[in-house]
Each structure stands twice: as structure tokens, then as C-alpha cells.
Amino acid sequence: MTERPVISQDATRKARQSRKRQEVALLIPLFGAIILFTPLLGSLGIGGDSLKSRFVSLFLIWLGLIIASFIMRRMLRPDMRGDD
């Protein structure tokens, strides 16, 4: 087997994985926007009517998004090389 296909396969595989990671990176804010920006949450009955449960659910979702973002940032590390 020659080296030629190795190069292009390697490059395309890396590019594809990178694209996938970036698409996932788009999913998190999209999910966050749907939950926190549209009335979906209330219509699903999540959080209920009491201030306490709303407070807890809102902050839990918030924290969940932050953790997701933290994980995402680690996943995207291969796509971001070098530091100033």
C-alpha cells in the first residue's frame, strides 16, 4: 500500500471529527435557548408554580449548561491549538 491514501484518509478523518465536535458545540446553546428562552419549560410543567421549585429547577438547568459547556470546551481542545 502506498502512503498516498494514508495522508488523505488521515486528514479527512480528522476534519470530519472536528466538524462533528463543532456541531455538538452548536447543540448546547441551542438546547439552552430552547429551555431558557422559550415557554417550553413552563408548558412541560417543569418547575411548577412555587417560587422554591422554580428557583431550584432554573439554577439546576443553568448549572447543567455550564457543566456541558465546560466539557465541550475540553472536547474542542484538539480544534484549538497553541496559546499566545
Binding site: 495522508i7 452548536l26 417550553l40 412555587s50 439554577f59 449548561l65 499566545d84
Partner: protein, 894 residues
Amino acid sequence: MLSFNVLITICLIYVGILFAVAGWADARARAGSAKFLRSPIVYTLSLSVYCTAWTFYGAVGSAARNGLEFATIYLGPTLVFLAWWWVLRRLVRLGRRQRITSIADFISSRYGNSNIIAVIVTLLCVIGSTPYIALQLQSLTLSLGVFAEDTQTYMPGTAAFWAAVGLAFFTILFGTRNIDANERHHGVVSAIAVEAIVKLVALLSVGIFVVWGLANGPADILSRAPASMSTAEPLITPRWMTLTFLSATAIICLPRMFQVLVVENTAEEHLATASWAFPLYLFMLSLFVLPIAIGGLSFLPEGSNPDLFVVTLPLETGNFSLATLAFLGGFSSATSMVIVAAIALSTMVSNHIVLPLWIRANRERDPQSDDVRSLLLSARRISIVCILALGYLYYSLTDGTAALASIGLIAFLGVAQVLPALLGGLFWNNATRIGALAGILTGFAIWAYTLFLPSFEGQLILGQQALQTGPWDLTWLRPQSLFGSQIEDPLVHATVFSIGGNLLVFVVVSLITDPTPLERLQAVRMVHAQDSNPRFRSAGEATIEDLFILAQRILGRADATALFERFARTQNRQSGLPEYTDDLMRVLERELAGTVGAAAAHAMLAQVSGSEDLSFEDLFAMADETAEIMEYSQELEIRSRELAETAAKLREVNMRLTDISSQKDAFLSQVSHELRTPMTSIRSFSEIMRDNRGTPQKDQKRFASIIHDESVRLTHLLDEILDLSFLESGEAKLNIQDSELSEIVSRSLNSTSAMAEHRQITILTDIRPKSMRLVTDPNRLSQVLINLITNAIKYGTADTPIVKISARIRQSEVILNVKDNGPGIPPDTARIIFEKFSRVGQSADRGSAGLGLAIAREIMRNLGGSIQLQQSNEKGANFELRMPLSIAGKAAAE
């Protein structure tokens, strides 16, 4: 009770620490050892300039009044940071690459460096920020007033004034120290990072104190919430969405946010950390807001100002040090906002308003003699003073508290008008300058009409009457119910109409206008900034895959692969791509330069590697180079075509010249040879006759007749030469007439009959049909025939020599053959018999100069016919004449 003077002293010490931090950071940055300053943590903390006194104090107030609604102010930015990869990264990268100094600068450079857009955005930002600065001064004085022992002697105006003076001093000192190429302010950013920590610690401390000090844990404090906070209304209402949208917009569009987010960013990597760290900061900051609000409502006497719960809760419960910390938190929030806003606004004002005006005013003067740098510095300092003065003035004029409280969101919406132009510029290729301008102005006008002016409650321009029933009683124009819409909340109403109108006008105008070339260029650079370059990279280094893809596009797949494989092998790698080396870059640049030109290759690699920005010089060099190459190659093509044509012509002419020259040489040598022989005899015999007087009469007579004969021959030869030259040049006179072929043939036979009889040669004629009419010169045609017959007789060496003359008609041509049964003409001689002075065989008689056939050919050419030697297997020579029939002849033939 804490002494007011002690608080002031603590405050001054705190300010002193901030000065020291800023000074130290500036010194470190100048010394080039600012590694700590360039950490993602400092960057994240500096973003906290978003949380002003309005949010520090106001969030608790908002929570006390509207429950969880306060969270929207933090959720908007959280969502934007979650989408950092798709929006903020692009913004930060472009800001760094294009050395953007402010949001006005960014929008103006996207739309072809339009200064009018920069001026409008600057004005919009100043209008939006002034009340905001006033709000900070108010928060400062209000919170300070809480500590005053004697509220009668406390002068809030004086406190606000000195606060403004102090802030102006700090901002000028650390914000305008130099005109940095990147407009980065390490000192200010460090001080703000410290303030961010103080803010967070203060709010967390008060929160913990309330939850675990005053109440018995989270469950207890939440259960103390008044019933009014629990409603059946869904959490996410149009107002919730509007507030989230506005806060999300603010994190990008507010001048101070753009300053810390984009301008002060030293590495894109920092943004990656901030993507989760800043939302976490906001999360922690808002975690105790609701508990503090509930605590204030439960533990403080009724009627306490909820906006001051953060300070009053610890103060009223005797926790003075915590109250001081809370005050410092609020102080930090207010000061950091004012400082950064003043820096951002002063940069915009000096760059987009003062500098263009100054340049216009000093157009006549020699620009070399003036220092633009010092002008910018002083313009910036004066701007800072003016902006703070404006804020103070606004604070003094409004003097109230109620009008100021709502101004934060009004300002948010005002600045949000920049958003469509900003995002459109980032993601939409066809967004144009005029579209952006029209959109911003439309949105701004609707904002002013539906929210800003009505906020003065009929005191400014729009009167009460106009607010209630619309101007001139046009109800559909009611400022807070445009087109009869039923949106109750004025903020939601104004947001829907101003942003909607802005977006609509921006899109429609962009679609119907054409961008200028510079706009198009900037659009390509900004919209496609990431497409070719999907990797996140802050250092000047392209991934090897990028280089490989680039090389493939330009060199072609096979060549690029071969090149990279060669490098991989030299690096002893069995498979995959080679390591990135300078050598590889150099070779690659050279290879690319061979295809696209040196400037273009350099620019492409620079672009892919992100190591340097593509400057206009690069572009111009690229364009020049390409144009030059194209021009040059076109010229070359034309030249080479011309050259080829000329060369072909020259070759042809040269060939003809060589031909003519050799013909002339041959002709001259023949002529001289032909002349020489008779001239020699004439000379010899005339000499004999002159020198020998005793020559007998008989000899004398013989000699004289030889001289005579030779002279005749000479004359004949010269006549022939003359005749030939006339015929060749086409100047021979022809006596063309309608003639009968048989007559011409018989005339020729008569002329040669004596010679034929002498040689005993039989001449047969076979002319069918008998009558053939020709339009020709009969004498000349007869001359040709005589020549041919004479030749046939001369070479008639057969036992019974016969010459046969036959004529036929074939396709309106007369074909006449003169054929003998002599030895014929060998093929190698056949080629040259029509040339001048050519004779067949050595036995030729001396009477001929060898011009007969040449003359015959020329005559036939002049008569519109031809003469050829027919080659056949039969013995003897066969000459064929072809000539056209006359019209009458043709008719007869048919």
C-alpha cells in the same frame, strides 16, 4: 455604628490598592513579563464589568419586586457564551486580526470603513451610556448615604461629584497612558479583575450571611418568600424573553463589553475558558440574589429600599465589616463600569469624531509636522472628562431616583440597535453599508419614539396628549401602541418594533443596494473568516492539514501529495503528514508562488497560518502582481504571434529572394556564356581581318559572313532574352483576336516545312473537329508551335522520323499535342526543360540558346493556357498545350 469617615478612609485605601495594582500591571506589561496578566482567569474576571452597580444592587431590588425575573439579566449572557464557538470566537478573531479598537470601529470597518456609520454608532453609544454612568454615580452616593450618621449633612451631589472626578483621574491615568496599537490596557484590566473578585466575594458573603446567619439554611430562607412571589403565571413570558434577549445583546453590543470581550482579548484561548467560567461567575453572583431579597423583605422593616438590601441587611443587623465589604462590592461594580465605559467611549469619540474633524480642519497643513498621537491622547483625555461630566450632569438634572432606575433597560435597547448590523455583518455577505445605516437609524428612531421619549413622561418633545392619543390624534401612531398593537409592556413593545423595524429595513435596503468594492472585500474577509480555516488557533501556526488542503487546491492533488510525502520521508515518518517546519513553509511558499505569484502565496500562507493579518498592502501587491502577470502574458502572447507571423513572412521572402538571386546568377552566367561564344568568334575574325592585310579575298568574305552570322545569332539571342523578360514581367504586347486553330497550325507547318523536308521527316496533323475557334494571339501561339515542331524535327533521329500534331476539345479546353518518335526526354531532364538555357542532351545544336521552351511556357501563361511534357511509356517526346476555347468556340463545341 461604623464611622462615616472610617468608611471613606477604607474606600480611599481600596482605591489606592486599585491604583497600585493597575500601576504594577502596567509596569509588568511594559517590561514584557505579563504572563499572569494574560491568563484566561484575568480575562474572565474582566468580563465581570458587565455586572454594574445596577446589577449588584438592582438585581436584589428586582428580585424583591419581580421574583426570578432578575435572572434574565444573567441568562442572556450565559446563552451567548454557550454559543461562543459560533459567534464570540468569530467576533474576537476578527477583532484581533483587524486590530479593531471599538464596536463603532468594527461595524465601520465591516461596511467599508464608513465613517458615517462609526459616528452614528458612537453617538448611539454615548447617548446610551450617559444615563448608565449617571446610574453608577447614583448607586455610589445612595449606598454611601446609608452609612452617613446624619442624613441631613450628607450631600449626595458632592459625593457624586468627587466620585466622578476620582474616576476621571483613574481612567485618564491608566486608560490613556499610551495609544497602544491594540488599545489594550493591562493596568485597567488587572484592576477590574481585582474588583470582580471583590464584587463576587462581597455578594457571596452577604448571601451566606443571610442564608446561614439570619435564616436557617436555604430551605428556610426560600420558605420565607412572600406569597406574592409565587404566581400561577408561567415563568417564561414575553417580558422574560425580551429581557433575556436584551441582556444577550448587551454582552456583545455595549461599548464597555466590546472593549473587554474583543479589544482587550490577548488570546482566543482565553475566550474558550471564559465560555464556561464567565457563566459560572454569573451563576455564583446570582445564586444568593433571591435569598438576599427574601431576607431583606423578611428581616428589614417594611418600606426599606430593596435596591440597598445588600448593604442595609448586614448594616441593620450590626455586621459592620460585612456591610463595608458589601459597600466595596457595589463601589467596585460602579467604578469598573464607569472606567471601562469611559475608555471605550473616549476611544470611539477621539477616533471617529475628533480625529476626522481635525484631519478635515488641517487638510491644508503638512501632516508630518503634527503629532496625531498626542492629539489622540489629549482628545481621549478630554473625552473622558466630558463623558463623566455628562454622566454627572445627567445625574444632577434628573435628581430623582425613579427615572434612573428604569434607564438601564432603556439604554440596553438603544445600544441593541447595533445588533442587526453587527451580526448581519458577521454572517451575511450581502449586508451593505447603506442597509446597515438605514437599519440602525430606523431602529434608533423607533426606540426613541416608543421608549426613550415616553420615559420622560411627557416632559420631553412628546407631550402627555401625544402619549395618550398619538401625535395629531393619529391613534395608530400612539408611541406605546404602534399600529394599534396590544402589547402592554412598553419595553416589550419597543423591543419588538424597534428591532423588527431595524432588521426589516436592514435586510430590504441591503438587498436593493450594491456594496462598494471595499465593502465587498471586507464582507468576504469577515463572513468567510473561518470557512477556510476551521481550526482554533491563536499562535501563528497553521495545522499541517490546512497547509495540505491549501497546497492540494493550488498545486493539484498529485503534486501536493508528492511534496508532502517527500517531506514526511525526510523526517523519517512512515505514513501520514510531515511535521510542520519552517523549511516546509518556505518550500511550500515557493511552490505556491510558482502558481499564483509570490505576494499571493505569501498572503495565502499568512492567512492560513493566521500568523499575520492580510493587510491592504498584501492585497494590493497581490492584485498588482496578478494584473502584471496577466498583462505580461497577454503581451507575450501577442508578441509571439506577431513574431511567428513575421518570421514566416521573412522566411517566404527570403526564400523568394534566394530563388530570385540564384535565378539571376544562373541567368547572368548563362547569358554571359551565350554571349561570350559568338563575341569570341566575332572578335577573333575581325582581328584577323584587321591585322593580316594579305588575307585572300575568299577568306575575307568567309570571315565576314561568319561575323555576320554570329552577330545575327547574338541579336537573335538578345531578342529572345528581351522577349522572355517582357513575357515574364507581363509587359509583352499581345495581339489577341478570334482565331482558327487549323490556320495557326498550317502557318507553323509552312514555316518549318523546309527544315522538315531537309531532314525527311513526316509531319501528320489530326485536328478534330476541323474548326476550333480560339481567342488568342495567333502569331505568339504559332511561335510556340514552331518551337515545338523545330525541336521535334531536331531530335527526330528515328529510322522513319514522324512528328504528329493532334488537337481535341476536352471540357471547353483545346488540348494540342506535338509528339515525335525520337529518343524522348529522360525524366531527370524533364524537370528542367522549361528552365532558361536548358538544353536536352549534349548533341544539341549550337543554334539554340535553350530559351525556346522557357519562352513557350511564358507565352502560354500569357495566353491563359499551359504547356506540359506528357510522360508516357511510348517512345518519343509528347508536349501538350492547353488553352481555353473562345465563347463562340465553346458554343460550336457543344
